[in-house]
């Protein structure tokens, strides 16, 4: 498959570490004024990750500051408010060793732990645009490698047409499905070709470090041409299946969220427009700036071929 490589983004465009660290100190200090809210910040146990640059990064985009990406999250298991995951997720201790069960229509099902996964391939830093279905967007320097590297390990059989993923669910630290309004454990899925596409990232870090809990530690997907909820967090199970698997949001409101959920400015969400997005953290006061949303989030050159001949308004 031909993958066109956008021009590389110079590293000087990345927000320098001392800048975002200062902002974080400021944030945690103001949080201290409110009360115990500052305590979870101490729970950050990020480790450095060495990663090489890759041609998969987008060029010409300003990277969103880390405190936006770690302070404003949709991770419903840790609360449905945008700031709740940053408060609640750090209290959760990521089980160690972290294991991922891979099975279904494969020749070699296996349970593999995170250390072994990390050693499968050299880590790459990939700067991706990330577009939420709620019409906000960010640009994040993720760390990981193509999901296909892991999937090839288990040798999918000819029957495998889709790949289903499941998030870890720990009721001790996470809210109930009733409270969240969607079923847990959280489920997502991809068509096999989407899962094997080199842009689909198996991600274990960002901003040069391991993932913070609220961003999906220790292992998540990043699928840059789809709405953010497709990029499942804290993966514990991967299952190869023959039929399109049920997914959380599509099951909750099939008229609003589809299985594909490719970023598409022409297909509005029934309750809001998808034509524009708010790029968070930018603008004079950090109020965000409004941008036109691009088809496939700007990754059309790389992924449009997978959907040729498909009606993308009906198959949203």
């Amino acid at each position: 498959m031909l993958i066109r490589c956008p021009s590389d983004l110079p590293y000087s465009d990345v927000t320098p570490k001392h800048v975002y660290l200062n902002r974080r100190r400021f944030l945690s200090r103001s949080a201290a004024a409110v009360g115990a809210a500052a305590a979870p910040f101490a729970a950050f146990a990020a480790a450095k990750l060495n990663a090489t640059k890759t041609p998969y990064s987008v060029g010409g985009e300003k990277i969103t500051s880390k405190d936006v990406v770690t302070g404003y999250n949709n991770y419903y298991e840790f609360g449905t408010g945008k700031e709740e995951p940053a408060q609640n997720a750090p209290k959760w201790k990521v089980p160690s060793p972290w294991t991922v069960q891979i099975g279904g229509e494969v020749a070699k099902p296996k349970t593999i732990d995170l250390d072994a996964i990390t050693k499968l391939a050299p880590l790459e830093e990939r700067i991706y645009r990330h577009r939420c279905v709620e019409a906000w967007s960010i640009v994040v320097p993720w760390i990981g490698f193509s999901l296909s590297t892991l999937l090839k390990q288990v040798e999918p059989t000819g029957k495998a047409k889709f790949v289903a993923f499941e998030t870890y669910y720990d009721p001790k630290y996470m809210i109930t499905p009733r409270e969240a309004g969607i079923p847990f454990p959280y489920k997502e899925g991809l068509r096999l070709d989407e899962a094997m596409h080199p842009l689909t990232l198996l991600c274990m870090g960002m901003y040069g470090e391991t993932l913070p809990n609220q961003d999906g530690a220790p292992l998540r997907l990043v699928i840059p041409w789809k709405y953010g909820f497709k990029s499942i967090k804290s993966i514990s199970k991967i299952n190869f299946v023959e039929k399109q698997p049920p997914t959380d949001w599509a099951a909750y409101a099939p008229g609003e969220y589809g299985f594909y959920s490719n970023v598409n400015p022409k297909r509005d969400h029934p309750r809001w427009s998808q034509a524009r997005e708010r790029r968070l953290g930018e603008g004079f006061l950090g109020q965000g700036i409004t941008k036109e949303t691009l088809m496939f989030n700007g990754y059309g050159d790389q992924v449009a071929a997978m959907y040729s001949g498909m009606d993308l308004i009906r198959n949203y």
Binding site: S30, V69, E83, G181, R278
Partner: protein, 209 residues
């Protein structure tokens, strides 16, 4: 209790208390603590307080009756006007900051997005109530007609709750809480008016006992 309620200072205190949410918001603006999505935060914050003040306004009459404190009514207008005030702020944030006053985008949103249509209707419904909230207007219209007009507030509150319910993604706990409060506040009125309508004859045997 009646003394406190009758005092003009209570009114001043309540006036200032009602400004506390706005002061808190302004403080957060200056501290730059508006989350990563400040426009969304301010929009939700002002929306929340619009609904809260609507609920407080609708709680005045039941409270007056249940506590038998007619003085409480003195505060109803102020609470209603604050609901409208926070509602207008909510609309301004949406139109100026979110939609940058782009008439095409705003028009499209109002027509196409149900939750915005409903929210707009709620706010427009509150406008004549705010305008006719003065003593002069009560006199000019006559109390009965004025009261009839101001029943629109029931519809506005209901639309406000529906507006909130329609816009949340899946966690409907808060909109449902407001719906429950509203059901109690409106249910109270239904019960009261049904009791009033009962003919006096029915009460006679009870009195005779």
């Amino acid at each position: 209790m009646p003394k406190v309620l009758a005092s003009k200072w209570t009114k001043v205190v309540l006036f200032l208390l009602s400004l506390v949410p706005l002061a808190y918001l302004v403080q957060r603006v200056f501290e730059r603590r508006l989350t990563a999505n400040p426009i969304e935060y301010i929009t939700h914050f002002t929306g929340d307080w619009t609904i809260r003040f609507l609920m407080i306004t609708l709680a005045v009459t039941p409270l007056r009756n249940l506590l038998n404190q007619p003085q409480i009514t003195r505060y109803r207008r102020m609470m209603g006007l604050y609901a409208y005030f926070y509602g207008c702020l909510h609309f301004l944030i949406w139109s100026v900051l979110d939609k940058q006053l782009d008439p095409h985008v705003m028009y499209e949103d109002i027509l196409k997005r149900w939750y915005i249509t409903v929210g707009m209707a709620a706010l427009l419904g509150m406008k004549p109530l705010a305008v006719t909230s003065t003593a002069g207007w009560v006199r000019r219209m006559g109390y009965k007609r004025w009261q009839k007009l101001h029943r629109i507030v029931y519809g506005c509150a209901a639309l406000g709750v529906i507006h909130y319910y329609l816009l949340v993604k899946s966690d409907i706990r808060e909109p449902l809480m407001y719906a429950a409060i509203l059901a109690v506040l409106l249910g109270y009125r239904v019960v009261v008016s049904m009791r009033k309508k009962k003919p006096a004859i029915k009460r006679a045997p009870v009195l005779a006992k």
